[in-house]
Amino acid sequence: MKQTRNVLADGTSIEDLVKVDTREVQMRALSDHEIYNLEMDRVFGHSWLLLGHETEIPNENDFVVRDMGSDSVIVARGKNGQIHVSLNVCPHRGMKVSTLDAGNTPIHKCIYHGWAFRPNGDFLASPVEKECMHGKMMSKVELGLEQARVTLYGGIIFATWDHEGPSFEEFLGDAKWYFDILFQRSDKGLEVLGPPQRFIVRANWKTAGEQSAADGFHTLTLHRWLGEVGNYAKSGEEGGADLSPEMYGVEVSSSNGHALRCIDLGRKIRKLTGLDPDELSVDQKLEALPPPGVTREMLPQLKRNLSKDQLKVLVSMPPQVGGIFPNVLFAFVYIPQADGSVLGLTLLHAYVPKGPDQLEFVNWILAEKDTPPELKEKMLRQSIQLFGTSGMVEQDDSDTWPHMTVAARGARGRKSTLKYQAVYETSKPAGWPGPGIVNEGFTKDDTQWHWWLHWHELMLAKV
């Protein structure tokens, strides 16, 4: 049994898709229908998936419709403020229960034959009660919408179909220590600045997924324009178009596929203060360059919510970009401005699989709830300018992934391999206080390689 479950129709074993000793991945993984279908069960059926933020549905009966892998789900706030995630498929004959993007309703009524459901997915009734059109063979309890397991983390809504699998904390594993620095640092937490941007990229979801986890190297070439005009070039931090100083830092890999790029704030702090960052205390550095969405008035919150060690990482080498397995990118970035100041931005992306050669890019723009309105406005506008649909940085990413996907369909291209052979030869920096697989120096392939290893582990069915 094990044999056939882990072998593709043409005889290739899933084991062989990833060559562990040479750090290669067969490119057919980026285009193959069979692999895609397996992923929907084995990867998306067993991971915690990002669906949005609770501030999108602040009131009882508010809902948004989102995707978990290839399935539509209703994310709704029910009684007592609890958030429920229900499969958006009518148990009667399979109609999509909610055909909307968002709204507020105490009852989700299927327009086909009128079966009605509560925001928590409970089956309420079918029309013409005395005729009992839902039959008597199944109880009302059995006729509710299928429920996913839900958790809130810093207000972010995650859900999974795996009711027996790891808890969300276990899923984050060692990376939680770092994610807490981003998502758990303020008293009131984050909020969305509006609904997400959504657009289609004709590319396999993994082209975006593996890049998010966390390809620092591509910035140098694909986003080279950042060094050709704009504030990186003008500020002449390290002169002209050379972005490579930005590629140094600390990278955290995770056996669960999460990844964090911690990028040195030293040069920015030196520029802002004119002082040697090594001579400054944690407090002085926080004052000089508060994290995205955080004002100087809000700094006591950080000290309340984070440990001394976490603060130390936050002020010197904070996680700025990275991924949450399988299909999430986070960005907590520090953008130099024309006037010499720095503006922090906070974004989350989900790359929703829409078939082997298509993904939906979902982009949420966030700020701290306590961020003052004028600062929120600045963050919002610069986020739109640089990231997402019209973002001058991410335009180039979304134009690249489709080419990889097409290449992976070629008779020879599909047998080519993606290579992750730039291996760290360093380890943790001295005195690094955080857990996990940590390496310092110029960005390497290790975080992305661990992403693939986790993908591989999930794709190998354990039967």
Binding site: D101, Q197, R381, T389, S390, D396, P402
Partner: protein, 187 residues
């Protein structure tokens, strides 16, 4: 719904309808045609000379909402574009002044088909409210498929020293999920 109500956008006051075929109407049409050909010819610097320096340029998100909540189908918090003159000029600079604006290098082949033009005066002397339909076709690389972007432009054009300039543009798109991988092009 009266014609004037139909023309009303978020923040533009509508006045008298400017008759189709009148001199003013023809000048507006001439502006829109010229603008479309400059953008399609990727003459971005020339295009940017048509912009007023207090330009506001926005493209709201759309959501699928029931008939009774159509106002809520236009989202003006997070948007696809939320720009002013300075930030649009920054985008033009990236596209024209760098060697690495890969999203449009090689550039898309585009056609901006601008139709259904309705013009009215506004409360402001020398400014016109212009509503038009836009169908933008975008071809990239060797794909035979065209990306289609359709929507309604809600513009304010202003006479500056006898020339029309674009002072305000809001594009109400039809897609809740855009079918093109980015908006590295102007609408």
């Amino acid at each position: 719904m009266t014609a004037t109500q139909h023309l009303s956008s978020a923040d533009v006051q509508q006045g008298e309808v400017v008759a189709i075929g009148s001199d003013t109407y023809n000048q507006v049409l001439g502006f829109l045609y010229r603008e479309a050909s400059l953008l399609d010819a990727i003459s971005l610097k020339e295009w940017s000379a048509l912009l007023a320096t207090d330009l506001v340029y926005t493209v709201p998100l759309r959501q699928t909402r029931p008939m009774a909540q159509q106002a809520a189908s236009i989202i003006r918090t997070v948007q696809h574009y939320h720009d002013d003159y300075r930030s649009i000029m920054g985008r033009v600079m990236r596209l024209t002044g760098t060697k690495s604006a890969w999203a449009e290098d090689p550039p898309s082949r585009t056609r901006r088909l601008v139709t259904n033009v309705q013009v009215s005066t506004t409360g402001v002397e020398g400014e016109l409210a212009v509503v038009s339909y836009l169908l933008l076709t975008r071809s990239r690389f060797d794909s035979p498929d065209l990306d289609l972007i359709s929507g309604e432009r809600r513009d304010v054009l202003r006479y500056v020293a006898g020339e029309l300039k674009l002072a305000r543009r809001e594009v109400i798109l039809d897609q809740a999920v855009l079918g093109t991988p980015n908006l590295a092009i102007f609408l």
